[in-house]
């Protein structure tokens, strides 16, 4: 299956999804498929991809604070056994007041660490995640602070430490 066939098949199954294909130039010309799905249809879409290619390579989830909403982009490589693979970036966004998102660990088990990471860093809530513990943040890190958020639930200014420059330290008389 190539990019155009995939776009056609996916568009027929999910007509309301936004699908666009980008192309980057030399030195590594490659076409990428970008898909934007609603939260309600997201789990079905992931299941459909798994059915299309049972050997799909799930790479990473990238979360982002986009102002009013939280965005999650799931990167994966499809049909990599058939020569040139399809690079698919399927994304969804959720409002900040209600950051629930269905887990995809039942479809792609390797998504678990990325979901845990996004949960602690951006405040997503993955419904049905088998292991909701923290992954990277220390245990004594305060609750309700999400380091990658850009709003008031992000890192507080007093949590940021800087060892300082000797010129400034001596000039301002500290130490």
């Amino acid at each position: 299956m190539n990019v155009d066939e995939f776009v056609k098949v996916f568009g027929e199954r999910f007509p309301e999804a936004e699908v666009r294909v980008s192309e980057n130039k030399m030195p590594h010309p490659k076409r990428r498929v970008w898909v934007e799905v609603e939260r309600e249809k997201f789990h079905d879409a992931m299941k459909f991809i798994r059915e299309l290619d049972p050997k799909a390579q799930f790479s990473i989830i990238i979360g982002r604070d986009a102002g009013e909403t939280l965005e999650a982009k799931y990167h994966m490589e499809l049909f990599w056994e058939e020569g040139e693979s399809i690079s698919l970036i399927i994304g969804t966004s959720v409002p900040k007041e209600d950051p629930r998102l269905p887990t995809v660990t039942d479809v792609f088990p390797s998504a678990l660490p990325y979901e845990r990471e996004n949960q602690e860093f951006l405040g997503f809530v993955f419904e049905g995640i088998p292991d909701p513990r923290r992954l990277f943040l220390p245990d004594d890190f305060p609750e309700g602070i999400y380091p990658l958020r850009l709003d008031e639930t992000g890192i507080k200014p007093e949590m940021v430490k800087n060892a300082g420059h000797p010129y400034k330290i001596r000039k301002e008389g500290a130490k």
Binding site: N162, H165, P166, Y167, K168, R170, K171
Partner: protein, 143 residues
């Protein structure tokens, strides 16, 4: 007992000279051309454009607005040479010096443009200013 397959190599190496450099006794291994050692700063060439402050990834450089120069603390330097590449007047360069170990992280060897030098520069600038004003007044009187 089985003969280990490395035996011939080991025996052969036993009769060769050691291939090490006994450093404090001998000179260190010579540095290659373009080696990135301790940063050297030329205060007189500096025009205070602050480009090096912008590109430094490690927070080595601090701008001193009173004298329009920059001050360095190499305790944080990562030797990436970006400040050297970006400097428009070539006031910065990388030397071959790499033996920089010290017991004090604010050691004089790791600083460029220390506080006393800044004070001296400030005094000099003020004197220049005064001299200029005096010259101006003298010119006005002549007219």
């Amino acid at each position: 007992m089985k003969v280990p397959p490395t035996l011939s190599t080991v025996l052969g190496n036993l009769f060769k000279k050691p291939a090490t450099n006994p450093f404090p006794v001998s000179e260190p291994v010579p540095v290659p051309e373009g080696f990135r050692g301790k940063l050297v700063y030329d205060v007189d060439k500096c025009v205070g454009c602050r480009l090096c402050v912008m590109v430094c990834p490690a927070g080595v450089i601090e701008y001193v607005p009173e004298v329009r120069k920059v001050t360095f603390w190499l305790g944080r330097c990562v030797f990436c040479q970006q400040c050297v590449d970006v400097c428009p007047v070539n006031a910065l360069r990388m030397s071959d010096e790499f033996l920089l170990a010290t017991t004090d992280k604010y050691d004089d060897n790791l600083r460029w443009l220390k506080e006393d030098e800044v004070e001296e520069l400030k005094r000099k600038l003020e004197e220049q200013k005064k001299a200029k004003e005096a010259a101006k007044k003298a010119a006005e009187k002549k007219e």
